[in-house]
């Protein structure tokens, strides 16, 4: 019978391999799967390509993973935020690669990857420096750029409540990229504040159906990035 719940965050990320592409849920700290990220640091996988809107803040969560030298390349829309110092330092010294993608194109590329769409056209970035490398094409008198679907080996995301089939609901603006990343990754790993028994989630309100989820781990009282940063915590 289907039970996607695993026993620990360590078990949840055990098979992330060197060189993997990992999508990490979250916009700023909202939806950032801190505990899974710290488990990934402990696990040791390196040379990762990470997809996230930002690059983390302070020296916890995603920023800690970057600081630990595990990330070869970031694909994101906004790599500098308040309290974000780790990425800028590595980037300026040429020790991390950056693929900058407009936020909406990034979101749609991830959805396309998950939906089996290899490419689509978007008006975003036409005539800007970020047009570089993209085919331009005219439809109905307007110019658009070709953007490619984006997939990943793993997605690590944070939900509010999940069940054993991997159905997930989210908390407020912590939803952001997570439902898209769950679709786009070969293996999707969800940390949720509660894992409830089957049938407790109303089928009408499920945001991520379990078909997109491979593993669920309960992290009952997850850390908040801003609180850790304010407390001066540095992971590793």
């Amino acid at each position: 019978m289907i039970n996607k719940q695993v026993a620990s965050v360590a078990e949840a990320v055990a098979d992330v391999f060197d060189g993997a592409t990992v999508m990490v849920g979250g916009f700023g700290e909202a939806g950032s799967p801190i505990e899974l990220l710290h488990a990934l640091i402990d696990q040791g996988a390196t040379d990762l390509t990470v997809v996230n809107n930002n690059t983390g803040s302070g020296e916890v969560g995603l920023a800690a993973l970057i600081k630990a030298g595990r990330v070869a390349k970031m694909i994101c829309s906004y790599p500098r935020t308040t309290n974000s110092t780790v990425f800028p330092e590595l980037y300026r010294s040429g020790r991390i690669e950056l693929e900058l993608v407009p936020q909406g194109t990034l979101a749609e590329r991830i959805r396309a990857g998950g939906a089996g769409i290899p490419a689509f056209y978007t008006q975003t970035a036409v005539g800007t420096p970020l047009e570089e490398g993209h085919e331009r094409r005219t439809f109905d008198g307007c110019d658009y750029l070709l953007a490619h679907g984006l997939t990943a080996d793993f997605a690590i995301i944070k939900g509010r409540t999940a069940d054993q089939h991997g159905n997930v609901v989210y908390n407020k603006t912590a939803r952001n990229f997570a439902p898209l990343m769950a679709m786009a990754a070969t293996t999707t790993i969800v940390q949720a504040s509660a894992v409830v028994s089957l049938g407790k989630l109303d089928p009408e309100v499920i945001v991520t159906p379990g078909i997109f989820v491979d593993r669920v781990i309960a992290v009952v009282d997850p850390e908040h990035e801003s609180a850790l940063v304010a407390a001066g915590v540095s992971y590793r």
């Binding site: 019978m1 289907i2 959805r111 990857g113 998950g114 939906a115 089996g116 769409i117 069940d163 054993q164 089939h165 159905n167 679709m183 089957l198 049938g199 989630l201 089928p203 009408e204 499920i206 159906p209 379990g210 078909i211 997109f212």
Partner: protein, 229 residues
């Protein structure tokens, strides 16, 4: 397995039962309209299979008790169904993202013709007076990882449905993995149709005579129901 000594070949239910044996525990499965719908009844004990219907439900359950249905809880064949615990509703773009994105493990479909290279024709006879209607068939065969076909081996007129090349309009190119008929289980391989199992009382030659392309025999194909896959 249902025993039908009066006829040669499996009944529709026996064919569905044979397909069900090949569905693994935990699989996400879409069942086409018609004979494929019967498969759900025969999934062996101890296996949990999650059924997807492309009109927006994962975790589809059986038909409702009389008087307990909702005309707005239906399957792709527009028949009333139920939702199992753990089910989820979603809109059509999300539903076909599951299909097109390769998230479903298996789709079981009917067929008009299957070619030795895996081409499938199951949506139109191409007749001049036919109303063309494709539904989700082309999306399913293009997107789902594994495509099983369940069909009578021959048409009512006795013409082979397993053919060298499809004469009817195609649903998809090289998409079929395995065919379950009343006479045999046949894989689509790089070399063409390859016999996997024969129905009870059916010989290789009997099947080959009713197949429109060469049938490859590998070792002694077991009789359906004689082994426990």
């Amino acid at each position: 397995m249902t025993d039908q000594p009066q006829q040669i070949g499996l009944t529709r239910d026996a064919m569905a039962q044979r397909v069900a044996l090949d569905i693994r525990d935990g699989a996400y499965v879409n069942l086409g309209i018609g004979i494929p719908e019967l498969v759900a009844k025969y999934v062996p004990e101890g296996r949990e299979v999650i059924y997807h219907t492309e009109n927006g439900l994962l975790g589809m359950g059986p038909s409702p008790e009389p008087g307990h249905g909702d005309p707005e809880l239906i399957n792709a064949g527009k028949r009333q169904v139920t939702a199992n615990p753990g089910a989820a509703f979603f809109h059509h773009a999300d539903s076909f993202a599951m299909i097109r994105g390769g998230h479903l493990d298996l789709c079981v479909l009917g067929a008009l013709q299957v070619a030795a290279n895996g081409d499938l024709a199951n949506w139109s006879t191409g007749g001049p007076d036919a109303i063309p209607a494709v539904g989700g068939a082309m999306d399913l065969v293009a997107g789902v990882k594994t495509i099983y076909v369940i069909t009578q081996h021959c048409t009512k007129k006795g013409d082979p449905k397993l053919v060298g090349a499809c004469g009817y309009p195609l649903t998809g190119l090289g998409v079929v993995d395995r065919v379950y008929t009343d006479l045999a289980v046949i894989d689509i391989t790089d070399r063409g149709f390859q016999l996997v199992e024969l129905s009870p009382g059916v010989s290789f030659d009997y099947v080959q005579e009713r197949t429109g392309a060469p049938l490859i025999a590998v070792g002694g194909a077991p009789v359906i129901g004689s082994t426990e896959p």
